[in-house]
């Protein structure tokens, strides 16, 4: 009897699982899009259109996520008002208040900096809230996962802070667009500056975060320092969130290396850099040279976390609030007056992405992903804080000047931790699309 009961229960469970799997596999987005009769996913009805802001609201990148949300809220205000902040300096003057006659409203999701959570919140915003576009995030792993979901769903994904080559390289998708720079550009910009400051013939030890961005960053740094005869002594992968890096740092002392490249970001960067300085690496003499530490990707928020330890250390950043072009000044003023402190690079890139999407939809005269995408492809613009920028059509990657920065020796405030030492022109960081591989594939309109 019990056997029959078990069997029945199992059958029920199996049937349920099969039904759930079938429901999951059914192209829900597809059917709904055509049911709307507009030929694309979540075509807006009424006088509003919904953006989905998918940012880390909890977890290690919550502070960056909070800054992204602030920027998005401000971007929505400016789009609806038809002016304010960098919208006033933006070279395209199409936005006059709303997009295609509709006001923008938004919903938010929490990525938790976890791919599965990020996909779930993006899915919820698309299915339940009718989001026409998803944007945000502070991790390449998350960006690649959400980009894939948006491609399947048939909505545009305007990524936030993602720096791995893969986002617009081997994992690129037609529906995905990136304003932020990547490790290839970091390497191209940083390599010559490192050579100018530290010379040729160095022995380099890499500590690398053990995931897609870490590998990408390590590869680019090796590639762009090799011409100067910078020899790689070791590449050590460290677990993300290791906390105490001392056991990875002590072998450097006797490795013969005179340079340490920390391919770490966020909390890992704060901890590994702090500990490397504590172990006396920064003041050491090796091979007759001053020991050097390099942090290829800087974030002002993280630099604040590392305190005095960032002083004199080179890295790169997508944007910095101290830039003196009209766009940056307008953005810093608007953000600073609204929130009381300067925006981070995460805030800048997400603000730009929201404005760029809105402008493309306005120019296309529709929210249909393929049309908005085409309006973004090979679109050249100015006035958003990075000089003249090109949204390259063949990989949906923005090309712009890259900032090489250094930890400031004498900061005047807690925000004043980095100084821009060189603005590497766009032409020097451009690369052929084939270099990073991948295929965009066709647009999906849902």
């Amino acid at each position: 009897m019990s056997e029959h009961k078990d069997l029945t229960r199992r059958r029920v469970i199996k049937s349920g699982a099969a039904a759930a799997a079938a429901a999951g596999a059914t192209p829900y987005f597809f059917t709904r899009a055509f049911a709307d009769g507009h030929g694309y996913m979540n075509a807006p009805k009424g006088d509003t259109v919904t953006f989905g802001f998918n940012v880390p609201q909890t977890g290690a990148y919550a502070d960056e996520g909070a800054d992204e949300l602030r920027a998005y809220e401000m971007a929505v205000e400016h789009i609806n008002a038809g002016g304010g902040g960098m919208l006033d300096t933006f070279s395209s003057k199409e936005l006059k208040g709303g997009i295609n006659g509709k006001k923008v409203k938004f919903v938010t999701g929490d990525t938790q900096t976890k791919s599965d959570a990020a996909r779930a919140s993006a899915k919820r915003m698309i299915e339940n809230d009718g989001a026409i576009m998803i944007t945000g995030g502070s991790s390449s792993g998350v960006a690649i996962a959400v980009q894939g979901l948006c491609q399947e769903a048939g909505v545009i994904f305007m990524s936030g802070l993602t720096h791995s080559n893969d986002t617009t390289g081997k994992d690129k998708r037609a529906n995905g667009f990136r304003h932020f720079f990547n490790t290839e550009m970091t390497g191209a910009a940083l390599g010559p500056v490192l050579q100018n400051n530290y010379g040729n013939d160095r022995k380099v030890y890499h500590l690398t975060a053990d995931y897609t961005w870490g590998y990408s960053q390590e590869g680019s740094m090796i590639k762009y320092t090799k011409p100067y005869n910078w020899e790689t002594v070791a590449t050590v992968k460290t677990p993300v969130g290791a906390g105490d890096f001392s056991q990875f740092i002590t072998p450097i002392l006797s490795s013969g290396a005179d340079t340490l490249v920390l391919n770490h970001y966020g909390k890992d960067m704060v901890n590994s850099l702090t500990q490397a300085v504590q172990f006396g690496l920064a003041g050491k003499q090796v091979n007759g040279k001053d020991f050097t530490i390099v942090v290829p990707l800087y974030s002002r928020l993280m630099a604040q976390g590392a305190g005095d330890n960032v002083k004199g250390i080179f890295g790169s950043t997508n944007w910095h609030w101290s830039l003196q072009d009209e766009g940056s000044k307008a953005f810093v003023k608007a953000f600073g007056e609204k929130y009381g402190f300067p925006p981070s690079q995460a805030a800048h890139t997400t603000y730009c992405q929201a404005i760029l999407y809105a402008d493309a939809a306005q120019r296309a005269g529709t929210f249909k992903p393929s049309e908005v995408g085409k309006a973004l492809e090979d679109f050249e613009f100015d006035g958003l804080g990075n000089g003249k920028v090109l949204y390259r059509g063949s990989d949906h990657q923005c090309f712009k000047d890259v900032l090489v920065v250094k930890g400031k020796e004498n900061p005047t405030s807690k925000f004043d931790v980095l100084e821009v030492v060189e603005v590497t022109p766009r032409a020097k960081v451009e690369y052929p699309v084939e270099l990073l591989g991948g295929e965009l594939g066709p647009y999906n309109n849902g």
């Binding site: 001392s246 056991q247 704060v270 500990q275 172990f279």
Partner: protein, 342 residues
């Protein structure tokens, strides 16, 4: 040789932190029979005592600068700490410099109070409940504490500096006749000495005081101690507060090594539980021994030569040792018969 010696030192200071957390954990388990998954949160709260003291010392009033401007080009509003006006610039700077060691006193007071409230308000209601209930409620508490810290202090790590006098590196190689590459941060050496002192103090307290004797008796046979007319409940409260204080001061002193954030308790908790299990549930000596042993082995496993031999070993070594120890010594290294075996 130099590299091996450095990894040994690394293991000692890491092991010191593990041992201090595991000591409190096993003390609570041995006397109260409670599996406290919020113990890592107590370590984190101690660390945030250091952050809080630093912030208290920096409570300031605004003074509008006549010469400098802020990032918007408006007159800069300078922050002047009240402490500077009260004790003078030099003394305020000295107190600020020593804020981490001074935070030990704040941690003792705060964690003592937290320990008493936690035991009286929550833990005592779970003495006779199954271990699963204890784990659930204390794990839930740890999450709540972590989120509260995140709400008030943010998600990013908050760096704390060691006093200037011990912020550099010591040439340990010179002391032991080793190579010039054997240098080690002073503060980590201080932390090792501190953890050894606290461990010694706790053992001395339990070994040489009447209170300690009662606690040890309680660890052997709680029922008999109660029958002898000793108010065991009050003793339990004090033991819990003591464990909270040990975790708290360990956390406060660890802040110059690892900038604290809301999740640091969880990072240490899991490893500390492994330490307790390897050392033997309820064994104080076992917790200390296993803490140092696992800390040292974890450091050695991170060496490049070992990594080349067995990739990824550094991330699993602690658990691998736990499996081996439990297979060969099911009660752990120094575990007692009858503990968690009912």
């Amino acid at each position: 040789m130099d590299a091996i010696f450095l990894q040994f030192l690394n293991g000692l200071d890491k092991g010191g932190a593990y041992a201090l957390i595991a000591l409190g954990l096993t003390l609570v388990f041995g006397t109260l029979g409670v599996v406290n998954f919020a113990h890592g949160a107590l370590f984190m709260m101690g660390a945030f005592c250091a952050v809080t003291l630093q912030r208290l010392l920096n409570i300031s009033y605004e003074r509008v600068s006549e010469t400098e401007t802020d990032f918007l080009g408006k007159p800069l509003k300078e922050q002047v700490p009240y402490l500077q006006d009260i004790v003078g610039t030099d003394t305020a700077a000295w107190i600020g410099d020593y804020s981490v060691p001074l935070s030990i006193f704040l941690a003792i007071i705060v964690m003592g109070i937290v320990g008493v409230i936690m035991e009286r308000g929550l833990i005592k209601h779970f003495y006779k409940r199954p271990h699963a209930d204890q784990i659930l409620v204390t794990f839930g508490l740890a999450i709540v504490v972590g989120e509260l810290i995140r709400h008030y202090y943010g998600a990013n790590p908050i760096p704390q500096s060691a006093p200037n006098s011990v912020s550099g590196s010591a040439n340990v190689g010179e002391w032991f006749g080793l190579g010039p590459n054997v240098i080690y941060p002073w503060w980590r050496l201080v932390y090792f000495a501190f953890s050894a002192t606290v461990i010694f103090g706790v053992f001395a307290f339990l070994q040489f005081t009447t209170f300690g004797m009662v606690v040890r008796a309680g660890m052997q046979d709680r029922e008999m101690v109660g029958l002898l007319g000793i108010n065991i409940e009050r003793k339990f409260t004090i033991v819990f507060a003591l464990a909270a204080i040990v975790a708290g001061v360990a956390g406060a002193m660890y802040t110059p090594i690892l900038p604290p954030d809301y999740n640091m308790g969880m990072d240490f908790l899991v490893l500390s539980f492994v330490v307790v299990v390897v050392g033997g549930m309820g064994s104080l000596g076992g917790a200390v021994l296993a803490g140092f042993l696992l800390g040292i082995l974890q450091s050695f496993a991170s060496m490049q030569a070992v990594q080349n031999l067995i990739p990824g070993i550094s991330q699993i070594i602690v658990y691998l040792i736990a499996v081996i120890v439990l297979l060969t010594l099911p009660r752990g290294l120094l575990g007692r018969k009858g503990v968690m075996e009912d």
